[in-house]
Symmetry: C2
Subunit: 270 residues, 2 copies
């Protein structure tokens, strides 16, 4: 998917909502657990209930790997089920030496057909660049993450600017905003202004609204650009809005609330 396609879909849907498909067998409604592939059944109903309200789905790989080979089969079925005009993100946080990153890229871009993958920058350019060689596919590089551990290294001065800023500054030399995005936790909105100075045109993937406590208005106020430039993820607050048989309509209701707030904020700030 191209930058323009993504922006066009955001404008059309008046939404920049990404739904995190962090599907946890312990949390899905009991009546699904007896089915042949409960994870896929759950995802399918979530997708059916929310596909007109969001512009992206983001499965976190850990939830699928935790189920062994069968979990990866559920993931593949899920990706194949997502409509082609919705952006798909493999939240995998991979990154390894060159020949190994290339294998990860092929796995997630070609075999699973994701549009984007989250990548960890720690190992530097040759661990990231193999992901950048795929037409209309995206790297979403970890910059400043939502949890308290971000203080340990990402916020260290290294030495002229914080490490997360060094990550943005260096990686901008590897690819432009049509191929590269950054992860910035919703709990980090006070840093968004500085990030927008470094990366005015890039999309930012913002997890942490909802269960992790980030504020959507703060994110929009400091993070939105003229192409919106934001993909805001919510996982648990949508998936587990209800633990009963009506989980899909509860997920739809919650997604509608978020989309409406997004529409209002787009009207206010763009």
């Amino acid at each position: 998917m191209t930058y323009q396609d993504l922006f066009a879909r955001i404008k059309k849907k008046r939404s920049f909502l990404c739904i995190g498909l962090d599907t946890d067998l312990q949390k899905i409604p009991g009546h699904l657990r007896g089915m042949e592939d409960p994870v896929f059944e759950f995802n399918k109903r979530i997708i059916d209930a929310t596909r007109d309200l969001c512009i992206a789905y983001k499965p976190n790989l850990a939830f699928y790997e935790a189920l062994g080979p069968a979990g990866l089969a559920s993931l593949k079925k899920t990706i194949d089920y997502i409509p082609d005009d919705i952006f798909t993100i493999a939240d995998a946080k991979r990154g390894d030496i060159g020949n190994t990153s290339e294998l990860y890229a092929k796995a997630y871009f070609e075999m699973y057909s994701f549009d984007a993958i989250t990548v960890n920058p720690y190992m530097g350019d040759d661990s990231v660049k193999p992901f950048l060689n795929f037409k209309d596919k995206w790297v979403i590089l970890l910059a400043l993450t939502s949890s308290s551990g971000s203080r340990d290294f990402q916020l260290l001065k290294a030495p002229d600017a914080e490490l997360y800023k060094m990550v943005i500054m260096r990686s901008k030399l590897w690819a432009g905003p049509e191929r590269l995005m950054y992860v910035v936790g919703a709990t980090q909105s006070k840093h968004l202004k500085a990030i927008r100075e470094l990366a005015p045109d890039h999309f930012l993937l913002i997890p942490g609204v909802g269960a992790q406590g980030g504020s959507l208005e703060e994110v929009v106020k400091y993070g939105m650009n003229k192409s919106v430039g934001l993909i805001v993820n919510s996982s648990r607050s949508i998936l587990y809005a209800s633990s009963h048989e009506n989980f899909d309509s509860a997920a739809r209701q919650k997604s509608m609330e978020i989309r409406e707030e997004m529409e209002k904020l787009m009207d206010k700030y763009i």
Copy 2:
């Protein structure tokens, strides 16, 4: 496996060789490709041919993920096949927010029964600590990796010491040498002295000897401690020593050469 068990096996085998099971369908001998599970068949023969010569096996997850759900099934069979007295490392380079790291830890320590997993430190303490809560299981944290991308961030001054040193200094507060190791590329031997000052007792996992060009003697000279404290990995130079039907005896021959060199270096430096 405990620290003392690991040291005991190194002493007994006079070897600190880890074999990286980076099994690539494109590179394994043609006669295996027609079999039901060529990756497992290849691994099985490599393990049979080398198990008395090495103290660890390290499958890199990318090679298995690249094959989809079936690749993970081959991985599981491989781990189950490895004798219990050999240390097993999931080279996964994972790391995510707390609840997600916990899922990865359960997947690799419990479901696949690995002894250790490589973890990326970028997201800080709450991304690493969930891996540290499993009895006799190990975290091997990326510190200074072998490829040129290590210059981009790991070697930045942050601000009083290079980032990789900050990773070692902070993570030492999270767990001791009986639970935590560090990845240091064999091509980084000039930094080993400084690393040993920071982490005198920790085991170091050293990839990059062989195909990536690191020198074993340099690594031993600067990196060995009184418990050896080194696990040196070789992958391609052993696995693909021959592309013919005799690949397993060629892998054994190559492993014997490395083990003999290790024995000599242990005699010289310990």
